[in-house]
């Protein structure tokens, strides 16, 4: 496991600057920023294009040959920047940018959930007494050995459709994937609590809760941020995958995974329709992964926290 990294008050202000100083970090930051901006500005962007994600364009489809776009290259035109969806004629660009919202929302929500549960369990195990630690560590190990993809599928199939899907996805992803975070938090807490400043605080009679908040938590920021940054793309892929299996958000809400699953029947005749969501998801995942890697390097330049 990792060593505790640079003291907190120093690491915080320099992280962004250090990231920006690296060329890779700069690109990753810009791309991730752009993706978030696109998601936020989805209504503006689609208005600019003059389309919306739910309007059908029957006239642009060739019904006799299965409902694919009439025009070549997936029906890309000045009116439809990235073409139209087969069988509905909905605008691909509009669905893509609105799909970014779901993707980021679920990835963000799930990561936040994992972070919260992981912090709580990890801190309690790291600071609690022997029994609490043993119990919580066993529990974490147990969750780690769950076949989580299988459980997610089962859960998504069981919970009624009336339950809002994005929230459900967040809850399931958070509830099943928090264990690695908890492990890291526990290990880091063990290291930190042996430090002089924690011992000093304890001597002064500070409560465990106060120690956790004031002394340990700040020291956890670096390793936890590093790890969390890499959870975002993982969650993004998980959401897309579950939507791909037809278990994610329900139509007509646009989502990338769903576009990909439609694309499986269309990739032979309308490859453009596969490539657009596939490459978008790919760029997002790569950008977030790169950002995570860059954060790790910026926080821990010597590669000790590995």
């Amino acid at each position: 496991m990792s060593n505790a990294t640079a003291p907190v008050d120093e690491a915080q202000p320099t992280l962004r600057a250090r990231l920006w100083a690296r060329p890779g970090g700069r690109i990753a930051l810009i791309v991730v920023g752009l993706i978030i901006l696109i998601a936020i500005l989805a209504p503006v962007l689609t208005a600019l294009e003059g389309q919306d994600p739910n309007t059908y364009h029957d006239g642009l489809l060739n019904s006799a040959t299965g409902g694919g776009p009439n025009a070549p290259f997936g029906g890309i035109s000045t009116a439809h920047w990235l073409g139209i969806e087969p069988t509905t004629g909905r605008d691909v660009f509009a669905r893509l940018v609105y799909g970014a919202r779901i993707s980021l929302l679920v990835a963000g929500g799930a990561t936040l959930g994992q972070l919260l549960i992981g912090l709580l369990v990890g801190l309690a195990a790291g600071l609690g007494n022997r029994w609490a630690d043993a119990l919580l560590s066993r529990f974490t190990d147990l969750v780690l050995s769950f076949p989580y993809l299988f459980l997610s599928i089962a859960l998504l199939a069981i919970v009624p459709q009336s339950f809002p899907r994005p929230a459900l996805l967040c809850i399931i992803l958070a509830g099943l994937y928090w264990a690695p975070t908890a492990r890291i938090v526990r290990a880091e807490t063990f290291v930190l609590r042996e430090r002089e400043f924690v011992a000093a605080a304890r001597l002064y009679g500070a409560s465990t809760w106060r120690i956790a908040r004031k002394e340990i938590l700040p020291g956890l920021v670096a390793p936890v941020v590093t790890f969390t940054a890499l959870m975002v793309p993982t969650n993004m892929v998980a959401e897309a995958g579950l939507s791909f299996l037809g278990l994610g958000v329900q139509p007509p809400t646009p989502s990338w995974g769903q576009m990909l699953s439609t694309a499986t029947t269309w990739f032979q005749i309308d490859p453009e329709y596969v490539l657009v969501p596939a490459l978008t998801l790919l760029v997002c995942v790569l950008a977030f992964t790169a950002l995570g890697e860059e954060i790790r390097r910026a926080v821990d330049p010597k590669g000790l926290a590995r």
Binding site: S145, A157, P271, V285
Partner: protein
């Protein structure tokens, strides 16, 4: 060693019991009624009651759970109305939707995953370790950077996209491979191989990046160590130092990783199987989840947990055997 194994065995059993209980509990929160699903579309009240009783759904949940657990060890007879079907141990229940013991469905699906993992593991290990060594020969050189970048990029492509792209390239654009369909090796080894190629590559390419990184890191780490410096001083070539000696430093991590990944794929490659329509455990899971076939879902999930736990234990053992610094107690 024995004590270690015993402890692992005990905790594995505990984990499996808990997973079984969790899955079982979940299904009692679900909206659908297993009895009416098993009975079919047009089922009158009397028929439904009969099916419910046959399935044992009229008994309390804990009693059903106990039957489930005990039948794993001693088997269980299922009264399907006219006769009794004996489901011998290890019995994981009986699927009323397909009128088959769950164990049989699992054993039918498992060969697909064994096929998938056997070829894919060979591929990802040779690709990952090979490229890792290749990169480590000239650390931080151009070829190191390119190899690492390519490996990591493939590693972060979601497998369902990679599979789709492979299909697009090899089956649609170049048409050099058939659209994969699972052919058992016992039926036709040549066709089996040909059809497995795309799924193998889809899995291997996503995994290889990790092995590349681990190999490279392990090699570079040991290159800094004393015995390597000695070897260099003797005048061994860099290639020989790296491929024969430094690679040993990466071995424990690689073996651990491989054990975990093999266990994971064996437990069901959900996306690969769905994408290519291979009837393995992953597809069985997706199908039975959409039918809410409770006994099958429980069975697949349990088997998956079991395989993952076995893989975890194997990984720990491998690490201990390969890394002399670790002592099992």
């Amino acid at each position: 060693m024995t004590a270690f194994l015993l402890r692992r065995l005990l905790s594995a059993v505990a984990v499996l019991l808990i997973v079984a209980a969790v899955v079982y509990a979940l299904f009692y929160l679900m909206p659908g009624d297993p009895a009416s699903l098993a009975c079919g579309k047009r089922c009158n009240a009397a028929e439904l009651a009969q099916v419910r009783q046959t399935m044992g759904l009229d008994r309390p949940v804990y009693a059903q759970f106990w039957t489930f657990i005990s039948s794993i060890f001693v088997g269980h007879g299922y009264d399907n109305g006219v006769g009794t079907v004996w489901c011998s141990a290890p019995c994981l229940g009986y699927s009323f939707q397909s009128d088959l013991p769950v164990t049989q469905l699992l054993t039918q699906a498992l060969p697909v995953d064994v096929s998938l993992v056997s070829g894919a593991a060979v591929l990802w290990l040779s690709l990952g370790v090979g490229l890792g060594l290749f990169a480590a020969l000239r650390p931080n050189g151009l070829r190191d950077k390119v190899t690492t970048f390519v490996g990591l990029t493939f590693g972060s492509i979601p497998i369902f996209i990679l599979a789709l792209l492979l299909l697009l390239i090899f089956c649609v654009w170049f048409q050099i491979l058939p659209f994969p369909t699972f052919v058992p090796i016992t039926q036709n080894a040549g066709q089996w191989f040909e059809n497995m190629l795309l799924p193998w590559f889809a899995i291997a390419l996503t995994f290889a990046g990790n092995y590349l990184r681990l190999t490279r890191a392990g090699v570079l780490e040991s290159l800094g160590q004393d015995h390597i410096r000695t070897l260099r001083a003797y005048g061994y070539t860099e290639r020989r130092v790296v491929t024969r000696h430094a690679v040993r430093g990466a071995l424990p991590t690689l073996a651990t990783m491989a054990a975990l990944d093999i266990g994971g794929v064996l437990a069901g490659a959900v996306f690969t199987e769905s994408m290519f329509g291979f009837p393995g455990l992953g597809k069985l899971m997706v199908d039975s989840a959409s039918n809410i076939d409770l006994p099958v879902i429980t069975g697949v999930t349990l088997l998956a947990s079991f395989l993952i736990i076995v893989a975890n234990t194997a990984a720990d053992l491998l690490y201990a055997v390969l890394d002399p610094r670790v002592r099992i107690q």
